[in-house]
Symmetry: C2
Subunit: 158 residues, 2 copies
DNA sequence: CCAATCAGGACTGCTTAAGTCCTGTTAGCG
DNA sequence: CGCTAACAGGACTTAAGCAGTCCTGATTGG
């Protein structure tokens, strides 16, 4: 499915949430605001803090705040921080030892341009872009992969 | 990791292999040539046949052959056929009912431009492109995600 | 008629991510 | 000075998805 991990999705949600206030916010507070389970929020925030996306304040009345503006954070960075390097197959990134079909694989290493293309596409979109899209447009998911199956009525929030 | 399923990787290998001969090729033969386990090759081929990428000939002396030229097959198509639609998160493609944080999620549906960007990138690369790259360039995997950690000595094939 | 081959599905084991919990450290406040 | 609120960091458990295998049936050439 070319699936992204949920943690990365959560990270984006949390970062956008943090951007909505200059004050420090606690992980329980963010959990309540986003609906994401508190331990999971804490886990994501710790990772984000370790990677320098957010700054933490320990002790009573502590919490987290953004360390960098949303506009300066590319999706690719968040994915790289949470999910690891962007690489579609295990063949790349030097871990070739585990590939049994290496000797005869006709496309080995050829995913590189594909990976590069995806990386570029993800580097060109910042979190602010996603947030702006959220404001300017309502919620429509048609014209994507599937021809708008629309199984369930989607509640549009303006 | 933004990982692609192995089956998709296999599908690409198998398709490229099929392109190297106009004759029908049996799944055991392809398995032997590619190093991929035979049942897995058969599984991939069945899917590819169902999606119209390859044509099958049943009975004795049967086998598979390409139904379309490599140049006309985009990576995105193969991924879509094997892995399902290209969508990074479960929020898209109409399956919104399962998202618990839907009501408060500030970026819901905002992955759409990201998905679209990736889809475009993958639609622009054909299997022939990957094959050509394989011919024109040797095997070097550096200058990718990681700064060439080179934990294990990678055998460079010139 | 027999053997080779594809078609299609069901089933199982494994890998990996998601989620939870525990312990330690830091900082404000009474 | 002690208590409490909050982050830091890791270990652990569970669950889901996928890879891989196998079985039965249908088709076709010799």
């Amino acid at each position: 499915m070319l699936r992204l991990s949920k943690l990365t999705d959560y990270a984006v949600v949390v970062l956008v949430r943090l951007s909505q206030s200059a004050e420090v916010q606690t992980s329980p507070g963010i959990a309540a605001a986003t609906g994401i389970p508190e331990p999971t929020v804490a886990k994501v925030l710790k990772t984000l803090a370790a990677r320098g996306f957010v700054a933490s304040q320990r002790g009573a009345h502590g919490g987290y705040r953004l360390a960098r503006p949303l506009a300066g954070i590319a999706i690719a960075e968040v994915i790289g921080a949470i999910d690891g390097p962007i690489a579609l197959t295990a063949c790349v990134d030097g871990a070739n030892a585990g590939c049994d079909v290496l000797q005869v694989c006709p496309v080995r290493g050829r995913w590189d341009p594909v990976n590069a293309a995806i990386r570029e596409a993800l580097a060109a979109i910042s979190l602010e872009d996603m947030q702006l899209a959220s404001v300017s447009r309502p919620f429509h998911i048609v014209s994507l992969a599937r021809p708008a199956a629309s199984t369930s009525p989607v509640p549009v929030v303006e």
